[in-house]
Amino acid sequence: MPVTLNSVLQVLIFMVIILLLTKPVGLYLYKVFNGERTWLSPVLVPVERFFYRLSGISEEDEQKWTGYMVSVLIFSVVGMLLLYLLERTQQWQRTFFNPQGLPNVEPQLAFNTAASFTTNTNWQSYTGEQTMSYLTQMAGLAFHQFVSAAVGIALAVALVRGLARRSAQHLGSFWVDLVRCTLYILLPVCIVGALVFVSQGMIQNFNAYTVVHTLNGQTQTIAQGPVASMEIIKDLGTNGGGFFNVNAAHPFENPNALTGLLIILCEITLGAGLFYMFGKWVGNTRQGWVLWIVSAILFVIGVFIVIPAEQAGNPLLASAGANQVVNATQSGGNMEGKEVRFGITISSLQEVTTTATSTGTVMSFHDSYTPIGGLVLISNMALGEIIFGGVGAGLYSMLMFAIIGVFIAGLMVGRTPEYLGKKIERKEIMMAVLALLVSPLVILGFSSIAIALPAGQAGLTTGAGNLGPHGLSDILYAFTSTNANNGSAFAGLNGNNPFYNWTLGFAMLIGRFAEVIPLLALGGALVKKRVVPAGLGTFPTTGALWVALLIGVILIVGALTYFPAYSLGPIIEQLFMHAGKVF
């Protein structure tokens, strides 16, 4: 049996911590977005009011779905331009903010990165420590890590208002939701969290890179920078864009098992709390817990596919003469692209979390995972990142599936479907299906183009040279990750060239905003509806039957869409690997 008792224990304790955090976090979120008093209010209310006065908005001035949508779009465009500008002016940021004198970022890479961080994707076609100045990292990239997370949460809150309010027009004020999320939720956790991270060895400075002379007689240049302050928001906001090229595998970005564990907790906690907030808001916490349970089941299944696959290791490494067997003195397993301090369990738990939650932080390299391990990671993203999900995005995507779910249940019993007392009619289904259909179109469409064109294939040969079925996986993964706004990579694909910078950039923008518009339209349609009392024919959306139905819908929609592509990528590669075939 390739799963050790210690592995099970690490995962189990992790799940219990999430479970315990869900309710308090959810309640706090509920209070913040309803404008209720919290313990931070005495300090933050005056700050908040000052911000509103400067921007000329009124707290009470709520928006219809169209106003909310326009606000999100304009705010995103402004932020994206600002980031582009910072990247393109690096050579004038010397010396405090750019002690290494890094040059301006190339236009197409600057576009790709601006799209990436604005959409909460954090796909990185660059090596952070060799490309981005300290100013770009903290005022450009980390700023977006705050606000793109706040935008995601605001969108979910708007949809929840649509479900909870009756016969109304407004979904709240985007500006107020944005400011409150940043000030009351993200910043306080980040200040405390960043300092905890530093105490464990994460760096936080503006020094030039340190040159050291080793005992072995070489010189080594060690990168520095304001890392901890970025690390915490990168995880809490399910962003994932690391300070360094190797992200949270870098010892300065993730020095030990405690920081590793805290990072994974940050990635998942707000998403879990949002489910509770939703239940509380619609007046029945069981409605939220049921979505939590669906997530938890899919999460644990994923973890216990990846851990055994990685622990069993790669038979090709075994025949090359490597000992992958776990014992008291080594974690063993498939250690290519993994760090010793994390071993198999924390690495696997982290990579399942990062793909389930739309984060994209990595502590180990997905491209080197066994094909089955990699299949779970890509599937987590392709399913729409509803397994706790990205901050906000997880909840709203899960609610889309819930609406499809009640629709299918309604078809089976022949009645008009209802969700939370609201009749789900033609417009709602259209919007939910529209949001769901964009992803396969982008992922499979762009992947096909990339495979057909020499420029797309060149990404494989100029990268790590992963050919055969794994090459297909590399390309599929890139478009899945960018479309899902995840940002992790099968990084053997060289994406820093015009073809991929442009196509992946557009995949990110479409992935974010083609979902946002139908989502807010759905909220706008729902908010106007009256609530009809539950009758005999109402399908209950709280019990075990609903859990099973929802999981079924999620898996069937996902499997039917992507199975043909996966069977030519990771699935056949797993068979080849066991047959000893290499490419």
């Binding site: 690490q10 304790i13 908005i57 326009v70 606000s71 932020g79 060799q130 980390a142 700023f143 606000v147 400011v179 200040i191 960043a194 060895g201 760096i203 936080q204 400075n205 020094n207 340190t210 050291v212 080793t214 005992l215 072995n216 080594q220 240049t221 060690i222 520095q224 901890a228 595998a249 870098h250 010892p251 300065f252 020095p255 405690l258 090709l316 003469g321 490597a322 003195t329 080594q330 063993g332 290519e336 692209g337 993994k338 760090e339 010793v340 994390f342 071993g343 180990s364 491209d367 080197s368 094909p371 990268g463 040279g465 050919l467 055969g468 794994h470 990084a491 053997g492 075939k581 290499v582």
Partner: protein
């Protein structure tokens, strides 16, 4: 048009600027200030100094050990950022191999690493070698090796340094870092710490 300017553009521009100041300058500035005050050692990279005061590395960043008298770290596939040529443990250009599990060149590389490792360690136990010693780490800067990876090198170190097998093996177990709370992560040995202790031990054998 006026509505667009006041209701959308002004709040978008003003909030972008305010939040940039707050999250992009004040927040990292405050965190840096406090971190430098309370945790200066960690915040500046856990730099290790020799007795004469020169910086010999970071406790957290792996180094490229090649001398047979030192414990060696894991394979690293980092490259020099200026020349693009292979330079293991280039700590200003972290990278993983990103080799897929059925990549022919990767499997061949592992076979070569196994052969080289066995040649360097003729007195090590025969049979398969610890996997972490022949696979590239995620960061290219992994400062640690597994206990098995350190023990595998003990016979070589003992004969190179003229120390007994038991003394060197005890150094390894003394420098083992266990799991966090006995549960999370994996046990490991920090190679720099171990080699510093080894130097001290070789200089004054009675001390170990």
């Amino acid at each position: 048009m006026k509505t667009f300017l006041t209701k959308y553009l002004r709040p978008a521009v003003v909030l972008t600027l305010i939040l940039t100041i707050v999250t992009g300058f004040l927040y990292p500035g405050v965190v840096t200030g406090i971190a430098q005050l309370i945790f200066p050692y960690q915040a500046n990279g856990s730099l290790v100094k020799a007795s004469n005061g020169t910086v010999i590395g970071s406790d957290l960043i792996g180094q490229y050990w090649t001398k047979p008298g030192y414990f060696h770290g894991r394979p690293s596939v980092t490259v020099n950022p200026s020349t693009g040529t292979p330079e293991p443990y280039a700590a200003d250009n972290s990278t993983a191999s990103n080799s897929g599990p059925t990549n022919a060149a990767f499997i061949q590389t592992v076979q070569q690493r196994v052969a080289a490792l066995k040649k360097e360690n003729p007195n090590a136990p025969a049979g398969p070698v610890p996997v972490d010693l022949v696979t590239a780490s995620a960061s290219g800067l992994d400062p640690d090796i597994s206990i098995a990876g350190a023990m595998y090198q003990v016979p070589r170190i003992a004969s190179e340094r003229g120390l007994s097998h038991d003394v060197v093996a005890k150094l390894v177990t003394d420098h083992e870092t266990g799991r966090f709370l006995g549960i999370f992560g994996e046990p490991y040995v920090n190679v720099l710490d171990l080699n510093l202790a080894l130097d001290a031990c070789a200089a004054l054998p009675s001390s170990c």
